[in-house]
Amino acid sequence: MQKDNDRNPLIVISGLKKYYPAKGMHIGRNTPVIHAVDGVDLEIYEGETLGIVGESGCGKSTIGRQIVALEKPTSGHVIYQGESLSDMPFDRLRKIRTQIQMVFQDSNSSLNPRKQVFDILADPMLYHGIVGKDGLDAEIDRLMDLVGLPRSMKHRYPHEFSGGQRQRIGIAKALCVKPKLIVCDEPVSALDVSVQAQILNLLKQLQDELKLTYVFISHGLGAVRYVSTRIAIMYLGRIVEIADTQELFDDPVHPYTNALFDASPLPVPKLRGRQRLVLKGDIPSALNPPKGCRFHTRCPYALESCMTEDPKLIPVEEGSGHKVACPVLLARRIKRESHT
C-alpha cells in the first residue's frame, strides 16, 4: 500500500475537539457538555475518498461540519493547505469556502423552497464571481448535464423533484463553485435503495471527471465501502481504526470494527446462521463518556488496563497507514504473526 508521506494532504486535522453544551440542562456554572468529537487527528489526501463510519452520536457529522468551517472547534485545528480555518479572517474564509463544499443528507431542507433550481445554482456563482451574467445560462446547462438532470427542469422549484433528483440538485449546488473537496454527509441515507445506487454511481463518476476529493460520512457500511478508498471507523468522538478500504475489510483489527462488520446484515440467506460478534448493551452517553478506552464497556476483550489507559492510534506495522486504537488486540495480532 501507499505510504502516507508519498501523498499530498489537502486537509490536516490535528487534536480536534468539539464540545456542545447540553441544551436545557443545569444552566449555570456546571453545564454538562456533550463530547461530540474528542481528540481526532486525521489527514485527507488529494484525490481520495475518505469514508467516515460510525453509529449515531459518534461525531462523524461534527467532523464534517468542522471541515467546511460551519462551526469553530472547541480546540485543535482544521488546516487547509497550510492555513488554519478557525483562525482565518472572514474574507479569506469566504474565498476558501468555494473550494470546500458540502452535500447534505436532507435535500429537502438544504435547498431553498422559494427559489428555482436556476437561482439556487446561479446565486453562489454570481456571488463568488465564477461566471458573469452572460455565461450563466450555458454554465447552468452544463451543471444540469453533469448531474444528469434534464435542462428543461431548471426553472422548477425543489418540491417538484423526487428525492433522488433533489439530491442531484444538492450535488450540482456543491459543484457550481468549482470545489476541490466535497464533504458528503449521509448523502444517500434518505433515499430508496434503487435510487441510492444512482447517486453513488454519480458521485464516483464526478470524482473521476473533475478530480475531486471526497469525505463521505455514512452509517451504511456497504455504501461507504463502495465509494471510499480509505475508511475511518469512529466510536464516541474518537477514531478507533483507519485503513485503506481493502485492507480494512480484509484485516479488521479493532473489536468495534469487527462488531460493526458482523452487525451489517448480508443479503445472502445461506449465511444467516454464521458466527458473529453481538455487542451487549447500548452506546454510552457522550455527556459522560467512559474513562480509558471508550469501548471497554461493551468490549468482549477488555482487560483491566482498558478501563484506565486511553489507547492511541498506532500503526499495525512500522510505517503502515493502517492504524488501530486497541493495544490489546494489536499485541495479540503481532504474537499470532510471529508464530506463523
Binding site: 433528483q165 435503495v193 435510487v195 465501502r225 475489510f249 446484515p265 445472502v268 440467506p269
Partner: protein, 330 residues
C-alpha cells in the same frame, strides 16, 4: 397446515377531494403458523398500508375498498371496533418503527405495560406488575424493576424498542406485524433486536409479518418473501428462491443495487434508471415498464400474477416463460 392469516384481493384507496387513488391493488397472501413473511418494497409502494389495514389502523382518508382479511377463520373487515379490540393487542400485535411516538411520554413504562396486561388478560394490579417485570427481563432489559419506574425518554432507542416488543408479546400473540422495527436503530443495536425477535419467534412459535426496505434484513430473517412495487405484488417465493433465482426484473435489479460489504470491490453497482411512479392506478400493463431492461410490446398489457414454479409467484409474462435470464448470485 391451515393458514393463520389469509388475505384475498385486498385493495386500499386514498380519498382526497373526492378523488380516489388506489395505493394497494388486489393483493393476496397467506401467513402460516410459525412463519416469518417479509414484505419488501421502496417507500410509497403500499407495504405499510397493507400491514396497517390488517389491524384496522388505516388513517381516516384511506379505506379498504375490496377484499377480505381472514384471521383464524374470522373476517377482520366485518368486525366492529369492539370485536376488533379483542383481536388486536391480543392475538395480533404490532411493533412500529417510530418507538418514541408509539410510547406515551407522560406515563412510566410500568404504567403502560401493566395497562395492556390488565385489559387484555384480566390480571389485577399486583400480578400484572409481576408479569410485566417478567416480560421485560424476557426481552433482555437489565434491571427490569428499575425500567418499570422510568419514562420513555429516559431509555435509549434500543431499549424503547425492547419495551415495545415486550408489550407486543405480553398477551402471547399468534401474529406480530413489525413495520420497519429496526430502521431507526444503529446497526449494532439492530443486530440485538433482530436476534431477540427471531429467538422469541421460535420460542413462542409465533408468525411474523416483517415490513422492510432492507434487503439484508430479509435475508437474515424471512421464510417467505413478497416483493412489492407500485401497489402490486411483483414476486413471491421462499427466501432462498428470491435470493438465488430472482425471476422478476425488478427483484433482480433491487438485489443488484444493494452494496454488500463482501462484493468484489471493482464491481459497478447496478442502479435502476428512473423513479417509482407516484400515482400508478392508471398505468395499464406492467408498472415497472418504464424502468425495465427487458420490455416487449406485450408488457403494455395487464400482467397476470401466476405461480410459474411451485411456491414461486411472479407478475411478468417474460419471467413466466423463462425469457428473463436469471443472474447467478454468490
Amino acid at each position: 397446515m391451515d393458514n393463520l392469516l389469509q388475505v384475498e384481493n385486498l385493495s386500499i384507496a386514498f380519498f382526497e377531494d373526492g378523488i380516489r387513488n388506489i395505493v394497494v391493488d388486489k393483493v393476496s397472501f397467506a401467513v402460516k403458523p410459525g412463519e416469518v413473511l417479509c414484505i419488501v418494497g421502496e417507500s410509497g409502494c403500499g407495504k405499510s398500508m397493507t400491514a396497517l389495514s390488517i389491524l384496522g389502523l388505516l388513517s381516516a382518508n384511506a379505506h379498504v375498498i375490496d377484499g377480505s382479511i381472514v384471521f383464524d377463520g374470522k373476517n377482520l373487515l366485518d368486525m366492529d371496533e369492539k370485536e376488533l379490540d379483542k383481536v388486536r393487542g391480543n392475538e395480533v400485535t404490532m411493533v412500529f418503527q417510530d418507538v418514541m411516538n408509539s410510547l406515551n411520554p407522560v406515563l412510566t413504562i410500568g404504567n403502560q405495560l401493566t395497562e395492556v396486561i390488565r385489559i387484555h388478560m384480566g390480571y389485577d394490579r399486583k400480578s400484572a406488575a409481576e408479569y410485566a417485570v417478567k416480560m421485560l427481563s424476557k426481552v433482555g432489559l437489565p434491571d427490569p424493576e428499575a425500567v418499570m419506574r422510568k419514562y420513555p425518554h429516559m431509555l435509549s432507542g434500543g431499549m424503547q424498542q425492547r419495551v415495545m416488543i415486550a408489550m407486543a408479546l405480553a398477551c402471547g400473540p399468534k401474529l406480530i406485524i413489525a413495520d420497519e422495527p429496526t430502521t431507526a436503530l444503529d446497526v449494532t443495536i439492530q443486530l440485538q433486536i433482530m436476534k431477540l425477535l427471531s429467538d422469541l419467534q421460535k420460542e413462542f412459535h409465533m408468525s411474523i409479518i416483517l415490513i422492510t426496505h432492507d434487503i439484508g434484513l430479509v435475508a437474515e430473517l424471512a421464510d417467505r418473501v413478497i416483493i412489492m412495487y407500485a401497489g402490486q405484488f411483483m414476486e413471491e417465493a421462499s427466501v432462498y428462491d428470491i435470493f438465488d433465482h430472482p425471476a422478476h426484473p425488478y427483484t433482480q435489479a433491487l438485489l443488484e443495487s444493494v452494496p454488500c460489504i463482501y462484493d468484489d470491490p471493482d464491481k459497478k453497482l447496478a442502479s435502476i434508471p428512473g423513479v417509482v411512479p407516484e400515482i400508478y392506478q392508471d398505468i395499464e400493463g406492467c408498472r415497472f415498464f418504464e424502468r425495465c431492461p427487458y420490455t416487449v410490446p406485450l408488457c403494455r398489457h395487464e400482467q397476470a400474477y401466476t405461480e410459474f414454479r411451485k411456491g414461486h409467484f411472479v407478475r411478468c409474462h417474460r419471467a413466466e416463460k423463462g425469457e428473463i435470464p436469471i443472474a447467478k448470485r454468490q
